[in-house]
Symmetry: C2
Subunit: 191 residues, 2 copies
């Protein structure tokens, strides 16, 4: 890929993360890249196509199964790894603008919803796997079904993220808060 094209993609991503698709204008893109419209339309056929490429560019790594790399030694270790990952990688992106970007992607980018659902499914499977092993191993002992436990973890972190978007909480406080929550839920599961 040309350097210039990647440059345009990077600048545009930044802009799309600050404003909605509609709010970002071609003029802004052109100005901030230091290029001309001619250059832009040399690399992209339309603003919409640019957006699709930006999204695929940006979500290429996000949507994959990074949580598959977490330790599966124990449920305890797994959710601790998850929190570290969430605080360091995911949380900084969790802003009003980033969620808006996701919504714009749902509107404009074909196949985006399918990819999102697929990644959600994969995430669920990973949790269920870890939970089942934890149960077999005797790490936890609870009447809750594997899927319900997985849902509590997944939904609660998503809800947590959403809440975090509204009030601004610093990173250390976030981590502690999340850790306390899941630790206490984990203790409950052990009983």
């Amino acid at each position: 890929m040309t350097n210039t094209k990647e440059h345009i993609l990077n600048v545009s991503l930044n802009l799309f993360m600050q404003k909605s698709y509609k709010e970002v204008t071609l003029k802004e893109i052109v100005d901030k890249t230091g290029m001309s419209k001619g250059a832009f339309y040399h690399y992209f056929e339309s603003k919409e196509q640019l957006f699709v490429e930006v999204i695929n560019f940006a979500f290429a790594t996000v949507i994959d199964d990074s949580y598959n790399k977490f330790s599966k030694e124990s449920l305890f270790q797994f959710y601790h790894d998850y929190i570290d990952y969430f605080i360091n990688e995911e949380a900084p992106k969790l802003t009003v603008n980033y969620i808006s970007l996701t919504f714009d992607a749902l509107k404009f980018v074909p196949d985006f919803q399918r990819k999102l659902l697929k990644s959600q499914k994969a995430q669920m499977e990973t949790w269920k796997e870890v939970i089942q092993e934890a149960r077999d191993r005797g790490e936890i002992n609870t009447p809750m079904k594997d899927e319900e436990i997985a849902k509590m973890f997944i939904y609660s972190i998503d809800g947590f993220g959403l809440h975090r978007v509204f009030g601004q909480i610093n990173r250390e406080h976030m981590k502690l808060s999340l850790l306390t929550l899941w630790d206490s839920f984990y203790e409950e599961l052990k009983v």
Copy 2:
């Protein structure tokens, strides 16, 4: 307030719930209200001021403490009431567009964030109250602290709502899924 002004507010709210602030045009508002631009600018000084008024108009009732009306007889009854309310009143609004509306409101409407945080705090207090009473009454018996239990309920339903936005799930399935989840969590708390 004039009838006409209220009419404009209603029509605009509908439009802002379908599209973002930027996507809604004055022409649309004027056309759908059956009025002229002159009339519009007679009642509002700008599109932005209209938006602020629409938001205050719309969220005046939404942000209040409707969950205070749920039965506090038992935690069991409370969360069942909550689900009924959520499925019938909140869930239909939980769409990409409605969440986008909330984000636009955060951008444009002064004091909106404060109101939102206040309502979240009130919600948390209500849950904690119900949970504490349930514990005192012996309805539940768990090492989890009241606040952690409340957080699990609140975050999980918000996360649930967010997930629901992405994949389209029908109302009956939603209700069942949520009921199953919370019932199993509740059983866990009783142990």
